[in-house]
Symmetry: C2
């Protein structure tokens, strides 16, 4: 039995929220940052992250900027105005999901 890292649908919310708060970041950095913030509890796999970044860029929620550091290419992503609006929506949905789950799994709140 292997465990999942993410509940489906949460990755876009995490990525947009991080970029909204922390400014531009590149993919690999996001994987490190999420691991750091959650004390290693949550790992964002690259196989999920890169397609998500491309999808968010295609939707116009993120923009990208190439940079060459130490002869290695980095793709810095930053959030657009459209992305900020969508982030607010996703955060509301996530908070609503969390509060619904909490009343459902916590008999004292129901």
């Amino acid at each position: 039995m292997q465990k999942n890292n993410l509940y489906k649908g949460s990755l876009s919310t995490i990525v947009l929220s991080l970029l909204k708060e922390q400014g531009k970041m590149y993919g690999y950095q996001i994987t490190r940052e999420v691991e750091k913030i959650t004390s290693g509890q949550l790992k964002v796999t690259e196989g999920a992250l890169y397609p998500t970044l491309h999808k968010l860029e295609a939707k116009g929620l993120l923009s990208v900027e190439m940079a060459k550091v130490n002869n290695r290419v980095r793709k810095y992503y930053y959030i657009t105005e459209k992305g900020k609006k969508e982030t607010a929506n996703l955060l509301n949905e996530m908070k609503s999901f969390i509060s619904n789950m909490e009343v459902l799994i916590n008999p004292k709140l129901a």
Copy 2:
């Protein structure tokens, strides 16, 4: 743009948790109860629920008991001992997911 009702993977947790707390319930009743507890915010679709109930039964986490009420068949599900253990695991995973999401989306906590 349509909105999702559930984050993927959460339905089993909801069903097991409900049955652990409230004793035996039948499928249709679960859909009503979730809607009621969440003040109509969360709807469990039958297309998701029934396959989930069958899967949990096949895994030995739930047992089933037929009943005939008003000439209509009801299938009452109740949780097994194995199901109670698995519920505890799923609740821990859910709580961990929620606390991880909260530090990720809440800059003040990070």
